[in-house]
């Protein structure tokens, strides 16, 4: 039977390197996915993933086992991704607050939405849609729809009220929905 995350974390905390290696390997892809979606850039994502794994390794003694290990891990990964964005600033963020910015055009600009089954097109569309959001909004959507955390867990990870989580997720989904909408579809939105 496979050891639980919490068991591996306890063993790793006690100095078991094999447990630490197994724990990190188990969650590497998810940590990388969070970093990739939040940073929006492959190289930044790699750097953020590295920082996140090191932060987990060095901070594991602070994990007290009260929450799920994954909740703690996602918090570390999200913070690493946000820190990476702040540090690098390779791509300037939109100057105005996200709430005041127009959503991406329904046509998705130059990108023509491909068929649903086109994973490459979907990836580009999602990246493009997420790029229009501030990193904190991106993080909320990623934690909900990629990591399947509930609102209270996301609030804990991002250290914001649940109402803010709800608002950020709605905003992020609206941006993606408009980005992915068929070019000729009427831009209907409740107003």
């Amino acid at each position: 039977m496979e050891a639980s995350d919490e068991t591996l974390a306890a063993a790793a905390n006690a100095g078991d390197r094999r447990a630490l290696d197994a724990l990190l390997a188990r969650h590497l892809d998810r940590v990388h996915a969070i970093c990739r979606r939040v940073t929006g850039h492959p190289e930044d994502a790699l750097d953020a993933t590295q920082e996140a794994l090191i932060a987990v390794t060095r901070g594991l003694h602070r994990y007290d086992g009260r929450a799920l290990f994954t909740t703690w891990l996602y918090r570390v990964a999200t913070n690493a991704a946000l820190d990476e964005l702040r540090r690098r600033k390779r791509r300037p963020e939109p100057a105005e607050p996200a709430e005041d910015r127009p959503l991406p055009a329904g046509s998705g600009g130059a990108a023509t939405p491909g068929p649903v089954e086109s994973v490459v097109a979907a990836r580009l569309d999602v990246d493009a849609a997420l790029a229009g959001l501030s990193p904190e909004f991106r993080a909320a959507v990623v934690l909900r729809d990629l990591c399947d955390l509930d609102y209270s867990e996301i609030a804990e990870v991002l250290d914001v009220p649940i109402g803010t989580v709800r608002s950020r997720i709605a905003r992020g989904r609206a941006a993606i929905a408009d980005q992915l909408r068929e070019p000729n579809a009427p831009p209907e939105r409740p107003t």
């Binding site: 006690a14 990739r36 590295q50 090191i54 609102y151």
Partner: protein, 318 residues
């Protein structure tokens, strides 16, 4: 609020929260509106599509080289493995206190005799660490296990008292009279953590099967010279077992490592807040298992867990 400034339609936040099952968005009028309004239902379908797109859109997978590099760098960044003593300074202090108490208290007991003196000595013993009982055999029968967890501990204390080397903690026989309250002398943690890569357990500090409680079962205070005397001197097992001393030592280390891992997991889970009193290894319905007893919430609770993964197989009080 759940409505837009245009009161006829629901806003994105409400529609999005409904998708996530957020109860604060699920007011009766909202559901009624959504069922009757094609516009809002269509918008909710768009938001659901966005959610599905993000969940399904793949992230470029890491290549194997990147995976290895990332993991290696992270593991390398781990703090150097601290020695057992550094990880448990409180226990070291307690053990030192025991040694000091014995050095001071033994002459007192010898000179004054009497059980009351023994109780005074045992009261000074630390209670931070449990007594490791070694291989307890079949852990399936609760009644037998209760007896072993209680009786074996008493025997262990008697044995330790009889075989302790000079200058080593010598638990009073009186200390084992009431298992739930009996302070158990903390074993000197010479690698007792049994963790991978940690120093090997000191000779005599390893597993002590309750079925081999002879003079050869455990030699308190074994030294290198004692170890050199052969397996019978330092082996935690019966001398009839066809193991070399190295094999026995490795087996004992693995036993202790599994016990330590599962004890840590229990203390982070169902035994949180408890104090380990006794532990051992064995089999539960044929499965390799660990047993650990904790003083918890005013009683003593024993957990039997799988050795691999530490899933709780049985739990009872005694």
């Amino acid at each position: 609020m759940t409505m837009d400034p245009t009161p006829d339609h629901l806003n994105d936040e409400t529609l999005s929260a409904l998708l996530d099952g957020d109860p604060t968005a699920a007011a009766p009028d909202v559901g009624a509106h959504l069922g009757a309004c094609d516009r809002c239902a269509g918008r909710q379908a768009e938001l659901a599509g966005a959610r599905a797109a993000l969940a399904a859109a793949p992230v470029e997978p890491l290549d194997e080289l990147s995976r290895r590099r990332l993991l290696a760098a992270a593991v390398k960044a781990a703090p150097p493995q601290r020695r057992w003593a550094q990880r448990h300074p409180a226990l070291i202090g307690s053990a030192a206190a025991v040694i000091l108490a014995v050095l001071v208290g033994v002459p007192f007991v010898v000179n004054h005799g009497g059980s009351s003196a023994g109780k005074t000595l045992s009261a000074a013993a630390p209670e931070a660490a449990g007594d490791y009982l070694g291989d307890l055999g079949d852990l399936t029968d609760r009644d037998q296990l209760r007896l072993r967890l209680s009786g074996a501990a008493d025997n262990s204390l008697q044995r330790d008292f009889a075989t302790s080397a000079p200058g080593e903690p010598a638990p009073s026989p009186a200390a084992g009279a009431t298992p739930s309250a009996a302070p158990v002398a903390a074993p000197v943690p010479s690698g007792g953590a049994g963790l991978a890569g940690a120093p090997a357990a000191a000779p005599g500090g390893g597993a002590t099967p309750s079925t081999t409680l002879g003079p050869q079962g455990r030699v308190g205070g074994s030294t290198g010279a004692a170890k050199a005397a052969g397996p019978a001197a330092d082996s935690p097992y019966s001398s009839s077992q066809p193991y070399s001393s190295e094999q026995q030592s490795a087996t004992a280390d693995r036993d202790r490592a599994d016990v330590d891992t599962c004890v840590a997991a229990l203390l982070n889970g169902p035994a949180k807040g408890g104090r380990l009193t006794r532990s051992g290894v064995g089999t539960w319905r044929g499965r390799p298992a660990v047993v650990a007893a904790f003083e918890l919430n005013g009683g003593t609770v024993a957990f039997v867990t799988a050795r691999s993964g530490c899933a709780v197989l049985d739990r009872f009080t005694y």
